[in-house]
C-alpha cells in the first residue's frame, strides 16, 4: 500500500512532469493564463492519463511489440475523444476556453511517456496510481503557474479581482510571462521541494 502511495507522491514531487521532467510544455505554457484554465487543463489531462494508463497496462501483454505505439495512440485518442464529448456536453464553457489543447492531449508526451515507461510494464492498479500521481502533479503545477500569472497579469485570484478594475502586467498573461514564470517556479521547486 505504501508502495502505491509512493507512486502518487512521486508524481507530485520527484517525477513532477512540469518542473522536473519538463514534459507537456506546450499546454503548460499556452493554457495557464489563469488559475482556472490551468486547473481545467490539468484535470483534463489527469482524466486521460489515469484511464489510458489503466487500459494500456491491461492490454500490454497481448500487444505485439512492433505495433505497440499505434495501439497505445489509438487507445489514448479514444479516451481524449470521450473527454471531448463529455466536456462539450457538460462543461461547454471550459471546452471553449481550452479549445485546441484538448485534442492535443493525444500527442502529449506525458500521456504516451507514462504508457511507455510505466503502464506497459506494471499492473493495472499500480498504473492507475502512477497516472493519478503524475496527473495530480501536472494539475498542481499548471494551477500554480496559472495562479502566479493571473495574480501578476490580471490582478486576480481564481477570477476574483483584488486591484479593482485596473490592468495587471500584461506581459504575464502573454507568452513571455509564461516562460518567465515557469523558469522562476522551476528554480523554486528544485530548491525547496524536489528531494531524492
Amino acid at each position: 500500500m505504501s508502495n502505491k502511495l509512493k507512486l502518487i507522491t512521486d508524481g507530485l514531487a520527484k517525477n513532477n512532469p512540469t518542473f522536473v521532467l519538463l514534459l507537456g510544455m506546450c499546454p503548460t505554457l499556452a493554457t495557464t493564463t489563469s488559475a482556472v484554465n490551468g486547473l481545467s487543463m490539468g484535470l483534463a489531462t489527469l482524466f486521460v492519463l489515469v484511464l489510458s494508463n489503466m487500459a494500456i497496462s491491461a492490454i500490454a501483454p497481448a500487444v505485439p511489440d512492433k505495433v505497440h505505439i499505434p495501439v497505445y495512440i489509438v487507445v489514448i485518442a479514444t479516451f481524449v475523444t470521450l473527454l471531448q464529448f463529455l466536456m462539450q456536453a457538460y462543461t461547454p464553457a471550459v471546452y471553449e476556453t481550452l479549445g485546441l489543447f484538448i485534442p492535443l492531449i493525444v500527442v502529449n508526451c506525458i500521456v504516451l511517456g507514462r504508457a511507455e515507461a510505466f503502464a506497459s510494464k506494471n499492473g493495472v492498479l499500480a498504473s492507475a496510481c502512477d497516472g493519478l500521481g503524475v496527473g495530480l502533479g501536472f494539475t498542481a503545477s499548471l494551477t500554480v503557474l496559472g495562479l502566479v500569472r493571473e495574480i501578476f497579469g490580471s490582478g486576480s485570484v481564481f477570477g476574483w479581482n483584488f486591484i479593482g478594475g485596473h490592468d495587471g502586467m500584461l506581459a504575464f498573461v502573454m507568452a513571455p510571462g509564461a516562460f518567465i514564470c515557469l523558469g522562476y517556479l522551476m528554480v523554486l521547486f528544485n530548491k525547496f521541494i524536489k528531494k531524492d
Binding site: P61, A77, T78, Q88, A89, P92, D167, V173, M174
Partner: protein, 213 residues
C-alpha cells in the same frame, strides 16, 4: 512482450483495438449527442436573448450578402417581428471574431454579444468584457452614426490599445446591419436568399453611405 510480432498477430491486435475503440466512441457519441446539442442550443438561445427584446419564437435562416453567408434568427413575439439576430464573423487580431448582433426591424442595433474570439487576453479580449465598449452598441443607429472607429472617422469608441479588434468588431456589426437592410428592403425579390451580382453592387454602395436608406 509475450505476443510475437508476426503479421497475423499485428493485424489481429490492431483490428481488434480499432474495432473496440470505435464501438466505445460510437456509444459515447450516441449518449452525449443530446446533451451536446442542448448545450449548443442553449448557448445560441442565450446569445439571442441578450441581443434582442423579449420574444417567444425564433426561426433559423441563412442569408447571403456580398458573397458571404450569414446564419440569422428571426425573433417573433405573438407573430410580430421583434428583430433579427445575425451571426457575423470577421477577422480580429488573433483570429476569427464571431458576434451575435441583434437588430430591430427599423435597422437600429439593439445589442451585441461575442460568440467566440481569439483576441489577446487583457487587450482585445476586453471586447467581450469592457462595459464601456459594450454599452455603446445598445441602440446604435447606423443611419445617423458611422460604424467605424473614431481613428477612422467613425463614431465607435475603440478599446484602448486594441484598434484592430475594435475595427473588426465594428465591421462585424456593419455586416449584420447590411444583412438586415437586405432582408427588410430587398432590391428585388429573391435577393436576400440567393446572391445576384447586381444586388451585390447595390449593397456595397449602401455600405459606404450609411445615411442612405
Amino acid at each position: 512482450m509475450a505476443v510475437q510480432s508476426n503479421l497475423k498477430n499485428m493485424a489481429a491486435v490492431l483490428t481488434l483495438t480499432c474495432l473496440l475503440c470505435s464501438a466505445v466512441l460510437g456509444g459515447a457519441y450516441a449518449l452525449t449527442k443530446a446533451p451536446i446539442d442542448a448545450a449548443a442550443r442553449e448557448k445560441t438561445d442565450k446569445a439571442i436573448g441578450q441581443v434582442l427584446p423579449a420574444f417567444d419564437e425564433t426561426s433559423y435562416e441563412v442569408a447571403t450578402v456580398d458573397g458571404k453567408t450569414y446564419p440569422y434568427y428571426k425573433a417573433l413575439r405573438g407573430g410580430d417581428l421583434v428583430g433579427y439576430a445575425v451571426e457575423s464573423t470577421t477577422i480580429g487580431f488573433g483570429g476569427n471574431l464571431s458576434l451575435m448582433v441583434g437588430i430591430t426591424p427599423d435597422g437600429v442595433v439593439y445589442n451585441t454579444s461575442v460568440l467566440s474570439h481569439s483576441e489577446t487576453p487583457g487587450l482585445g479580449a476586453k471586447c467581450a468584457s469592457d462595459a464601456k465598449f459594450m454599452a455603446q452598441w445598445k441602440g446604435f443607429d447606423p443611419s445617423s452614426k458611422i460604424l467605424t472607429v473614431k481613428k477612422d472617422g467613425g463614431d465607435v469608441d475603440a478599446i484602448t490599445a486594441s484598434t484592430i479588434t475594435s475595427r473588426a468588431y465594428a465591421l462585424a456589426v456593419q455586416q449584420a446591419v447590411d444583412v438586415v437592410k437586405a432582408l427588410e428592403d430587398p432590391v428585388e425579390p429573391g435577393v436576400t436568399e440567393t446572391t445576384e451580382a447586381e444586388g451585390q453592387v447595390e449593397k456595397s454602395q449602401t455600405q459606404e453611405d450609411p445615411s442612405h436608406e
